[in-house]
Symmetry: D2
Amino acid sequence: PRIAVVGAGQVGSTLAYACQIRGTANTVALFDTDAAKLRAQVLDLRHGGMFAPTVEVVGSDDVGICAGADVVVITAGARQRAGESRMALAGRNVRLCRALVPELCALAPEAVFLVVTNPVDVVTQAVLEVSGLPAHRVLGSGTVLDSSRLRALIAARAGVGVAGVCAYIVGEHGDTAVPLWSQAFIGSVPVLDWVVDGRQVFDEPARREIEDSVVGAAYEVIAGKGATNYAVGLAVTHVLEAILGDQRLILPVSAYVADFHGIGGVCLSLPRIVDRSGAGALEPTVPGTAELAGLRRCAHVIAKACRESGVDVCG
Amino acid sequence: PRIAVVGAGQVGSTLAYACQIRGTANTVALFDTDAAKLRAQVLDLRHGGMFAPTVEVVGSDDVGICAGADVVVITAGARQRAGESRMALAGRNVRLCRALVPELCALAPEAVFLVVTNPVDVVTQAVLEVSGLPAHRVLGSGTVLDSSRLRALIAARAGVGVAGVCAYIVGEHGDTAVPLWSQAFIGSVPVLDWVVDGRQVFDEPARREIEDSVVGAAYEVIAGKGATNYAVGLAVTHVLEAILGDQRLILPVSAYVADFHGIGGVCLSLPRIVDRSGAGALEPTVPGTAELAGLRRCAHVIAKACRESGVDVCG
Amino acid sequence: PRIAVVGAGQVGSTLAYACQIRGTANTVALFDTDAAKLRAQVLDLRHGGMFAPTVEVVGSDDVGICAGADVVVITAGARQRAGESRMALAGRNVRLCRALVPELCALAPEAVFLVVTNPVDVVTQAVLEVSGLPAHRVLGSGTVLDSSRLRALIAARAGVGVAGVCAYIVGEHGDTAVPLWSQAFIGSVPVLDWVVDGRQVFDEPARREIEDSVVGAAYEVIAGKGATNYAVGLAVTHVLEAILGDQRLILPVSAYVADFHGIGGVCLSLPRIVDRSGAGALEPTVPGTAELAGLRRCAHVIAKACRESGVDVCG
Amino acid sequence: PRIAVVGAGQVGSTLAYACQIRGTANTVALFDTDAAKLRAQVLDLRHGGMFAPTVEVVGSDDVGICAGADVVVITAGARQRAGESRMALAGRNVRLCRALVPELCALAPEAVFLVVTNPVDVVTQAVLEVSGLPAHRVLGSGTVLDSSRLRALIAARAGVGVAGVCAYIVGEHGDTAVPLWSQAFIGSVPVLDWVVDGRQVFDEPARREIEDSVVGAAYEVIAGKGATNYAVGLAVTHVLEAILGDQRLILPVSAYVADFHGIGGVCLSLPRIVDRSGAGALEPTVPGTAELAGLRRCAHVIAKACRESGVDVCG
């Protein structure tokens, strides 16, 4: 299979690197309009070919390099700066993606589109609108990374490997994101019932601390190193493997929601079955009342940002 | 790290093969008293070295090959025949393992012992007794494989990838094994609440059908091909990687239970945190009433088989 | 991608297992006319799905399961018995494959055919003839495994990892196979020039010993365990990955040779570039005189066996 | 096993990322004196833990985090700027490493030291001197990356996968590096003898073009993206796996050379057997006359830079 990555910045290139090491596809094609930067990234990736020989990395400043892709990953766009919220990027990045998508659709008519550019929910909605594709063919990385951060913190506190934790953050990939504590598990035990020596490990203060950590995580990383790239690179690779491998993984990707307990009309993140066709059926989950209220708030925030960026919202 | 595998029959050799392909350890050492068979298995494995170059497979009919192992896997023993229950093997295999363990302990004084020989709970108890090791250092593959079978069937019926299913079979690796339906999940949704088009997918008849399939699985495979080897090979490799990689995975291995809701005194399978030290803390799970009753039955069956094979049981 | 494996005996099933563990394809489909054995193998493989979740194993005693395969691997047929040469199997296995191929071609019209059934050169020639496919679309596992055995022995004697050895056995996958000593390397040093403390390590007696080991290897394994399966499973998986991943690996597969230094008209093994289209260009190697004579002998042996089995040979 | 990485800049962090994805060790410990940057890198790496669960990444601005490491990788130091040669960095980086090494030796008394900081040959020599370790315990990444670049270019021009190419650049990791064309192979064919349609593919002009590309590669990448990180991250990971896995790979690492065809007294890169003990025996290669002259030049350049940086050189 062939992956096309639009944007060879930190995120796009690191994602290509993760795909190269993991052998996610036969070919990873990078596209960026900055020819010198693009060529440097592609050379640096190709020079490691001897140590990751199953993936060919190619690149060009001509968008034609994306032709025939099975998945088009959109990472291009201005990125979050220290202290800036993701929504502040909306206008610029929506315009950029709108401009690119028609040609990408023509070049890769069978592709699933995977949006990483922030604010990811708004940009995903914009790509869905301008592409005219069926809803399942356009998805965003959503809260896959946020959920990974949540799981890492739960796992560390419980003293178990992260593979044993199932927990989702849903809604917006941003400041209103909602952790679904009522439906989080360690092994087969609800996180809320995890006790050690008779003491509840994830009590209210512990949960607040974890939530603050997750919300503050991207800000802290950006403050310290100027950008996030490693975790997002692996998170997107995970989604790509679910798609290309038709793995039917349950992932909190951003995709169009028609009606989830009365919430809908925009792209937002909920656990869904991700397969070769893209974003499949929603997990039949029933969030608690406060969690649903949080989700409704997310939908409003995303819809508002969409309207302000000139992106249509249903209903 | 170095793995020693005692017994180069179908299970021991296939397990070595899975470790070789996955790169589970630097060295896999096979020991078997049948020198011709052993040499054939080792040659066949070594001939593939070019395609799996990170693992060295060695072997001998001298038990000294096990020296210095980080984990000793015991697969030796008579195996289940078509129609025969696992418990029928107890006497012979307990005697065999008892005879081997003292020398293995001397050769690999730091090793964790992982028992695969059936009936696995009884043999694990026997190895624990004769070795005099701390309880966490002796574990059995237990119901790891049964749980994998259960998950595969749940995943297929729900139409999701098996990675999204968390479900355990506990108790005996045998006819009285207990599926913990009340604590099984697909993504973050209890299996019992998984609905499609308003219909409960895992209703009573569906669950019965799945249970029958799991219980009958080994019998059916043995009837059709004379032995099981592939799935058990991967299941044991998974446990080995949890140990050697200190992964703190939650796995239903068989290990000594002192007191779990009043049940104890023998080795049986419950979800535990498996790490470099072996079988760690139990998951703080609270089974339903019927499930507890089933577990109690398992403990009785195992204790009875232990006594009949001359293995001490506490309490 | 989808792999179809014809024949669920030891070789076909072990090959499916290696593909499952390595994640070689999205789907591995097993076909065998013995429904009970097939179902047992498929169940045993599927039960391990939790530990190798990226590959789906399916199977049927209806050949329709092979539909749409990207590669069809043929492992069906009588297998070598202790003391029997591979050529003795020719008649039976050629008839069997001839009978299967037309339907397989119809079901998987885009597939590359990879023959493992012995005598592999003769059966490959038969499949090429009856399929009417372009020559590059039909290849046999050839001497890939023999070369792996040779490399393992060279590596062990030189005290280096097998990844550092490049050496080929060519010609027939059988008793007349030819090791190309003049073109074998350890790192960048010709094997013949590898010296330790001023002494040539691979002198004439050492080479003889290694050759005898390689030729005797299959016989010894069959004598000890009744069949070879592990190494051949990995070797064929390696060829499959070269094809599906378009890796352009140089592998000594069996394929039709039109004219190699005057030798040709049959399928035999020479180092070739293996890519998505199957058996590509020959490596531009120039064997020594004795090696060429050996190759000519191989071509005669294969051509004779073809004629005796009713398979056409050119020239 | 545990890897300690000294320096959490682009190279150190990307290397940690490659190790995390590949599962190279159980623990990767990052150390850097810049606490904010360090914490950001470690958080970014840890957030991806769910997708690479077998490796734990930890970090601190206290060097004590390196305690007990099996390999200490030194990446700290000023890095090459656009247009600057690697040797210009020598003085500063030698001082930095000298200051760190005694404490690192005390914290990790059994460790192999792997130097990546440039100029790598000079810094390796300095670490060897100040540590007082046996020569095999101190090695540098040397020309492993340069050789990978050379192989990638040869493979692309020959139309084969890079796994089929064996070629080394030796001597200095810098402007005087020497490609060993006389001992480079594609499959079993000398690169110089690779013909397509009767035409030599790697004639003099082709070789010059490739050499210029290799030498200019780092400069071009640095000009385009400000640093190299991806390929060097994978190259060092490859060396780490050779060491930790005792793989006996033949790699052109930098290590002390006592006398190689009359050349010696400094650390420089030649193909060596790399195993658990570090830099093992030299491959018994015999370079051509011009190649030996080039190597001698490398030794002079390195020795001169050593002396100018106050590092002892033998003879």
